[in-house]
């Protein structure tokens, strides 16, 4: 019986199939493609390798050896979810940096230049043009989470001449020297008061849940801004709303929140100077992002076939 790879992704193109097939067929694998979870359900029992992002499929393949998640965040796969034993998990962290960095730059500039207010002005066909704006030039930026997203953003924002970019992560170390300084998480309280623009790009792990507590939001200078593109769990939302509504923070942009979708009666919608986007930063509608996830899967498919360690392996205990 032929060994089977199943690909369950709505964005797969013919070019992607050619690429995946070439690698798989060389090793005698059969590849089957499904667009959606519904298409795949009931058809993947024999699947050894699965590339997709629907976790309910994982228990349909009794002999699954490797699941490659097309997303970067793997928080849905940690307990209480029971990830199949003896199955490897890889993710696609590395594919989303470019598109999310562009989203971050956009919303930071929108907040600094008061675009939400100008949108209202233009909507009523008014000609007000003297709102006091701020710049990225000369601002002190703190990047909380120095993975692919934080680092890809930092490489871009340097060209806008911020005063400094500080990275904050678990170890206080980074592979690439793009940050002016790098701090350990336990030094965060001393970094926040020196921050004009805070970017949060953290995975959801026990360590990051609630990390921007009411106390820490209170450490940010008046007139600073906060951008969160990681996971909504990282922010005390009630404290954020209060800081924004009272004018202590100049603004915030959140692409992630709790819960998602946000109910229509949730108070976040009415929060002052809060730019909400419906989890679009890492949108799979961008061809570049889809190509990258396929490239990364193919890279590890070659490793898998050759019996080499997988490059994008997730440590389920660590959560990323």
């Amino acid at each position: 019986m032929s060994r089977t790879v199943c690909v369950v992704n709505e964005f797969i193109t013919e070019a992607h199939k050619v690429k995946i097939n070439a690698i798989a067929e060389k090793a005698g694998f059969t590849v089957r493609y499904y667009l959606t979870k519904e298409d795949a359900t009931g058809h993947i029992e024999d699947c050894e390798v699965l590339f997709g992002h629907w976790r309910s499929l994982l228990h349909e393949a009794s002999g699954l050896k490797w699941f490659c998640c097309a997303y970067a965040g793997v928080d849905p796969y940690v307990p209480p979810f029971q990830f199949p034993e003896n199955c490897m998990l890889t993710n696609s962290s590395g594919a989303y940096g470019v598109t999310i960095a562009e989203h971050i730059l956009m919303v930071m500039l929108m907040l600094q230049r008061r675009m939400p207010e100008y949108t209202d002005i233009v909507r009523r066909r008014d000609w007000v043009n003297d709102l006091t704006i701020r710049s990225i030039q000369g601002s002190r930026i703190t990047v909380l989470g120095t993975g692919d997203i934080g680092t890809t953003f930092t490489r871009r924002v340097r060209a806008l001449e911020p005063a400094s970019v500080a990275g904050v992560n678990r170890s206080g170390k980074v592979r690439e020297g793009v940050y002016d300084t790098v701090h350990r998480l336990d030094e965060l309280d001393s970094v926040l008061p020196e921050t004009d623009i805070l970017l949060m790009a953290l995975p959801s792990t026990p360590e990051t849940i609630g990390i921007m507590s009411k106390e820490r939001i209170g450490l940010l200078p008046k007139d600073s801004i906060l951008v969160n593109v990681g996971r909504g769990t990282a922010v005390d939302q009630a404290a954020l709303m209060e800081a924004l509504n009272s004018g202590r923070l100049a603004g915030a942009a959140i692409d992630v929140m709790v819960p998602e979708p946000l109910p229509t009666d949730h108070p976040l919608w009415d929060t002052k100077n809060l730019l909400i986007t419906p989890h679009i930063a890492g949108n799979m509608t961008l061809g570049y992002t889809c190509d990258k996830t396929v490239d990364m899967f193919c890279e590890d498919l070659e490793n898998y076939i050759a019996g080499r360690p997988l490059k994008h392996l997730v440590d389920l205990k660590r959560g990323y």
Copy 2:
């Protein structure tokens, strides 16, 4: 009688005054400050050097030798306006690059990532997140006008990894090697079909009025975008509206238009995928920009006092 410098600017701070006074007083000049045109009217007859941006004041000072315009665009000073004879004109081109480049990046990202549509989605508290987006990464950018604004933007956008950045100007030459290629204006028709993102950052001169004609807008690829931060006169607005409403262009962002302010019944307001801002890109509410205009004035005040040529002199015949 003491020679007199008059400064008529609403943004002058105490620190600016200290800086200007130090240079002027060393040479025996008296400096008088007015916040507005109304404050200054009737009080500047003895003025030899004027720093401001209200042209109606120019004929109040019969012995005016130098007018330093705090803005970059000097189109209001060319005929039919009668600029005083034997008076030099300098401008503040060089002070606006940073703030306008940030505006340009913001609106380009907003158009590429379909933020005007997402703003409507969020306004109705909906949770749609699958609009097809585009990226700056991999896009072919054309910069029409390679002055301070075009060049400051190009230095920044390179970090976002566009496929290419082509500059277009009168001479086909630039001082700084930030562009992949530089073309003469008469080659524009061959550059436009190879353009995904067109930035227009031109002064208003006889050569630039109507430069983006209906024919040239038609040369842009379907799904390209156009951003104009120079002068509204450079674009055939009727042709732009038609291209946008018919879906031939993916979007446009204009910070300048004809006329300004835009009347509430103007069809531009109702144009599809058009992001209008009320001439805010070079906003004087940003301290950095104000500081730069004062620095540039001070630099030339030193030159003026020493009898050296002024660095930021405008050629009124050329128009910039």
